[in-house]
């Protein structure tokens, strides 16, 4: 029976996406990235002894390695907390079958050990172990050290699952926990307490000693506790109908605050809908918060460290993000966000031009709000570049918004609004990232050709303004694109190809 479940899991891994077109390129890109990480791990693991000896010539190799193992585990833990996903085998389809439910949970739990985050550290640990531990220590000691490393990985695996079960998908809590852990580790390092180093050295040093077996048991005991805790947590959660929908949500007051928009007729109602969509659904809301992080990142590109030609290449990134953070992250999915009810949208007597106009106004309003919020900061930290910043606001307002809305009509994949957006590549393709490049060509070219800063700002801003004024051209163009692709979009949003 478990062999069948394993086969189902295997199928779920390879049947989750259609390996065609842009999806294929994204798939290949992620596999290449995986191969790249693994190659790095292999190289670091193999040459770790040389690196360590260079940095700490006076300390024994294994002493340094042992002291840093816990720190490494903590760093990996932070990464996996945000990136690790649960296996895709769902227990629900099997619950009504004559399969032992505890057995099912054990199977599910063991399956998580095959996660990429447990595998790639081994590509680092195994070459190191073969080269430096196995030849230098008795086989028993070397094996107990390796077992200790494996237990550490398994422990962090179950700790992540346990925490996820405890706090759900509240990223804020996760962020606070990760920041807390990073803070403790940093204090430990900065204040030279070195408690973590000492504990790590003590544990793994003894694993290589005579009491290795005893220390292995000491490491295995908390792991068993974690495993049992996760088992208990999962036993409760698999019986819920749908963990994400177990409870009804409280209705917010957005409708009351946005009531004034209803005065503007169907366009006002459509803008209301856009705001409710973003605020009331998990994935769009998270993209909104991520966009704000992007906006903050935008300031870093204005660093005085970037001068001359480098500034010409770096500043556009920053300026695009400062007023266009939401457009760049959110705009390309303006129609996909509505994939859940796109059929309803198509049958209602809503003119496509009105729909496009509402979306364009929404995106333009986001540029204006971000411009107003960020301009005091830019005026303070880079007053000499404020004209260019204002020019990029017009560029985003008039051109980026319209271009991204036009590109949004090229997305045909369904988006689940209730899923977390973090490390979620559903409906995302490689072209979503590449499209920022052509957006930057014009401003970079203008800045490169027009030496005078004010003149180049005028040119970029003028182009943006002209594009904004050309709304009467953009809206029918985007509406035509939408009308031409509505069947394909509808089919894709319903989960079909044609």
């Amino acid at each position: 029976m478990y062999a069948t479940l394993l086969r189902h899991y295997w199928k779920s891994l390879f049947r989750r996406t259609t390996w065609t077109g842009a999806n294929l390129s994204l798939g290949i890109a992620s596999y290449l990235l995986g191969a790249y990480i693994i190659l790095h791990c292999l190289a670091i693991g193999f040459f770790a002894d040389i690196i360590i000896k260079k940095i700490y010539p006076d300390i024994a190799l294994m002493a340094v390695a042992n002291q840093n193992l816990l720190l490494l585990a903590a760093i990996l833990f932070c990464c996996r907390f945000f990136l690790q996903t649960f296996p895709r085998v769902r227990t629900r389809p099997y619950l009504h079958l004559p399969i032992s439910r505890p057995g099912l949970i054990h199977f599910f739990q063991l399956l998580t050990l095959g996660n990429f985050h447990n595998i790639y550290p081994l590509f680092f640990a195994l070459p190191f172990w073969f080269k430096n531990v196995l030849p230098a220590y008795p086989a028993g000691a070397a094996l107990s050290w390796l077992s200790g490393v494996l237990l550490l990985l398994a422990g962090s695996n179950y700790l992540v699952i346990g925490l996820r079960l405890l706090i759900g998908h509240k990223l804020l809590w996760g962020g606070a926990a990760a920041a807390g852990l990073a803070g403790v580790v940093a204090l430990d390092k900065i204040l030279a307490w070195q408690y973590a180093d000492a504990l790590s050295g003590y544990l793994f040093g003894h694993l290589l000693g005579r009491e290795g077996g005893l220390f292995l048991v000491a490491l295995a005991a908390p792991l068993a506790g974690l495993y049992a805790g996760v088992f208990k947590g999962l036993s409760k959660s698999i019986f819920l109908d749908d963990p994400g929908r177990a409870q009804s949500r409280n209705v917010d007051g957005v409708d009351r605050h946005l009531a004034f928009l209803a005065r503007y007729g169907p366009i006002g109602h459509l803008i209301q809908l856009e705001i409710k969509l973003m605020w009331r659904n998990k994935r769009p809301r998270q993209v909104l918060f991520m966009s704000l992080v992007f906006v903050l990142m935008g300031f870093s590109y204005l660093s005085p460290a970037y001068e001359g030609n480098i500034a010409i290449f770096m500043a556009p990134f920053g300026f695009l993000l400062l007023s266009g953070g939401l457009v760049l992250n959110y705009g390309q999915f303006m129609f996909s966000w509505e994939s859940r009810y796109f059929d309803g949208t198509l049958v209602r007597p809503i003119d496509f031009r009105a729909m496009v106009r509402a979306k364009l106004l929404f995106l333009q309003a986001s540029c204006l709000v971000l411009f107003l919020l960020t301009s005091p900061v830019v005026a303070t930290i880079a007053p000499d570049r404020f004209a260019l910043f204002a020019a990029f606001f017009l560029y985003n307002f008039g051109f980026t918004t319209a271009l991204y809305l036009l590109l949004a009509t090229l997305n045909f994949k369904h988006i689940n609004l209730r899923q977390s957006s973090f490390a979620n590549w559903n409906a995302t393709s490689i072209h979503h990232f590449i499209v920022i490049l052509p957006l930057m060509v014009l401003p970079i070219l203008v800045q490169y050709l027009v030496a005078d800063a004010l003149l180049s700002a005028l040119a970029i801003g003028g182009f943006g303004l002209a594009s904004a004024l050309a709304r009467r051209l953009w809206i029918p163009l985007i509406a035509r694109s939408l009308a031409g692709r509505k069947y394909r979009m509808g089919a894709g949003f319903r989960g079909r190809k044609g």
Partner: protein
């Protein structure tokens, strides 16, 4: 509204899922679509609503090709599935939005919603819940009422009786029968519920593998005929034919 279908076909690759050479639904007619799963009922409704592209032919509503214009939408109400609902809105917000896009005032929306109070059974309005948090049956009630809200002249419903509690099924059936007594409303209902569909519709089309294999005017024998048609057994072909020739159009 009169619906005229000419040479309509829908194919996915080499598979033809719908093929209707010619079919007309006169204004004010109530048509029931019946057929087993995969017979093409939903595809038929989606083609009428211009949700999918026809591989050949066209659907015209009051002479307007649905794929070429959008004027027909103003007088058409429909509910096929949950894909018509905006699940992060409350029912009140959803009705207000639907009313606004059909050009109704808030007062008109409220006044029309009052009529459906018995249908809602105190489980929809004023519950402070998003549509996505309602039960399947209540979601369907919201969808059907939203389709009726603009008082359309063409109404399309896919499996309207499924998931509804018995009282609501009867209320809905009565509401659909009463539709005809007001303005001339064309109704197309697809359903697996042979009892309800024969009570509501004057005309029944049986779809099988994408083709309309029988087109019946409803009479007191129709339910029995349909039950015989869909009965699983070796002798089905002999019982599938209508009881009298005049029932075949």
């Amino acid at each position: 509204m009169r619906i005229a279908i000419q040479g309509l076909a829908k194919r996915y690759g080499l598979t033809t899922v719908l093929d209707i050479p010619a079919f007309t639904i006169e204004a004010g007619e109530r048509l029931g679509l019946v057929g087993n799963n995969g017979a093409g009922k939903t595809t038929f409704l989606r083609l009428v609503l211009d949700l999918i592209e026809a591989s050949a032919g066209q659907v015209a509503i009051d002479g307007e090709n649905v794929a070429a214009g959008a004027a027909w939408k103003k007088n058409t109400g429909s509910y096929l599935d949950e894909g018509f609902l905006i699940d992060y809105l409350t029912p009140e917000e959803y009705f207000a939005f639907t009313g606004a896009v059909y050009g109704l005032t808030r007062d008109q929306v409220d006044e029309r919603l009052e009529r459906y109070a018995p249908f809602f059974n105190h489980e929809i309005l004023g519950q402070n819940k998003y549509i996505g948090d309602l039960s399947q049956g209540n979601m369907k009630k919201v969808g059907i009422v939203a389709a009726l809200l603009p008082e359309p002249r063409l109404l399309l419903l896919d499996e309207p009786f499924a998931n509804l509690d018995p009282s609501t099924q009867i209320r809905l059936k009565n509401a659909l029968v009463e539709l005809e007594q007001g303005e001339e409303i064309t109704l197309i209902v697809s359903s697996h519920d042979l009892n309800h569909v024969t009570e509501v519709c004057q005309r029944i089309a049986i779809l099988e593998r994408g083709c309309i294999v029988q087109d019946l005017q409803t009479s007191e024998h129709t339910l029995k005929d349909l039950q015989d048609y869909f009965a699983v057994g070796e002798d089905r072909p002999s019982t599938a034919s209508p009881t009298s020739e005049e029932e075949i159009l």
